[in-house]
Subunit: 290 residues, 2 copies
């Protein structure tokens, strides 16, 4: 069975870039033409159209469960539909959920997201490590048996994350200690294309930290957060990735608002504005690769 | 408006004990008489009956969203019903969700759980601090405007949590640094009964850590995890609480499996087994108070 890392690597090599687009329903920014009878309806209209337009240009999308959960059961039903649509288009789906719990409770989440017939059957899910490795273990187990991926929060880009992630202990930052502890999972989830289905978050805003994490985890995929609207440029976003023949490898670079809700004026249709935003995000990454 | 801390304190004083019961649907342990046509149906039958039997003996219940989410949309619908039922019985509801995210995404969760008309409108929710205080802030904001509570993970009792929570930095453990950073939220959420609607998790298995946290956060409520089946006795569970006239104050002591799925033999009905388990958990806390 091809695992998550193999599927992702094959697809990003084919496309020549590692762009991931975050599916974040900011309802106030969705153009009026998509507005439906309810918030969840609006989100469905908008993202369905987005997936049709962009589906063959990217390898992976990252819906953010929180913003669907905010809309209640109808929102979660829309999320289910969008995940199905994305998979039908050949896209990989990484669920932004940042779950973290232990024992049976963590297993509950893992079964919901990483099992065929699970509530939201996706390719990978983000996980929070504050409660330790036994909070990550149930996800790794299911990832291993079902060819899925696990993305552990290691380094984040929001200003507040420095307070804890940059605490120093024995000459290492907390995020480095967390990264180092994940080596065992990197090994367990190794694929055939040179990369592990264990992934970690890194921030486009701190490329030097990405390099430090890469030293600890040479084979883990990176989920680079904050490219585009959140201030990271293509060079700093790709600091921990590997320069492969067909573009960057070893991770994906996520942009959400920059692609979904482009602010550049002068386009006479939503499609052309989106095409332009997508193209710019992709070209940025290709140029950084050189 | 009475805030979460005031409502909780009034109710635990009335009852004379701080027991909280975790509503964790371990389907294999639910007695056959409750089995329905589906897993979610079974969970509904079981917890509805539990709430009817136990509702006037405890102040607060803590459903664990993960185990409902595992059952998909029907599971979440059951969770909605149980929350309504618990509130109708006058119980407070603390949602075990351990969410942690930033900005709009954290706000999405906060609106889902801490808003009237939210997806799951509860009295308080657990939050993960790994991403920093800006991951907690949106919950505190809504708690402040809506009289709700926020429970931040500080110290956990699972063996793996020591790896990060006990990292030392400048002579302090990580969990102490986290606790200290929360003082500002403790102040913002102060109620009238002497306690704040800012709460933190502590472990029944490390009473000395609870005492350390109490020094940092004199007015925060404690959610003590691991009483009963998970190995914590009543004395170590109440280490950081205050000996009030009418029982312990300043937190709740959670038991899930020990009360829900009692293993003591010799009872000829489920009701009497549950009554006995509840009584023992409550008596244990009352005796520790003396």
């Amino acid at each position: 069975m091809e695992n998550f890392a193999d599927r992702l690597t094959a697809r990003t090599r084919e496309l020549g870039h590692p762009l991931c687009v975050g599916l974040d329903p900011y309802l106030l920014q969705i153009p009026p033409r998509f507005h439906g009878v309810s918030e969840s309806d609006t989100a469905l209209n908008f993202f369905s159209e987005f997936l049709s337009v962009a589906g063959d240009r990217i390898a992976i999308v990252k819906p953010q469960i929180s913003l669907f959960e905010r809309m209640g059961i109808p929102g979660l039903e829309v999320l289910q539909k969008l995940i199905e649509q994305a998979k039908a288009l050949g896209l990989l789906v990484l669920l932004g959920a940042k779950r973290g719990d232990i024992g049976e409770t963590a297993r509950g989440y893992a079964e919901a997201y990483l099992s065929p017939n699970g509530f939201l059957d996706v390719d990978a899910v983000t996980v929070n490590p504050y409660m330790g490795l036994d909070a990550v273990e149930p996800f790794v187990e299911l990832a291993q048996s079902n060819g899925k991926g696990v993305v552990v929060l290691v380094r984040n880009g929001n200003p507040g994350s420095d307070a804890f992630q940059l605490l120093e202990s024995n000459g290492q930052y907390l995020f480095e200690v967390v990264a180092e502890s994940l080596v065992r999972f990197e090994e367990r989830l190794m694929g055939n294309a040179g990369w592990s289905s264990l992934a970690v978050t890194v921030s486009a805003r701190s490329p030097e930290d990405s390099v430090r994490i890469r030293k600890k985890l040479p084979r883990s995929l990176f989920l680079v957060l904050g490219y585009g609207a959140q201030g990271g440029d293509a060079t700093s976003s790709t600091a921990g990735l590997r320069r492969g023949k067909q573009g960057f490898e070893g991770g994906v670079v996520n942009s959400s608002r920059g692609v979904l809700y482009p602010s550049e004026p002068g386009f006479n249709s939503w499609e052309s504005a989106i095409e332009n935003a997508l193209m710019k995000a992709i070209q940025g990454l290709k140029q950084a690769h050189g």
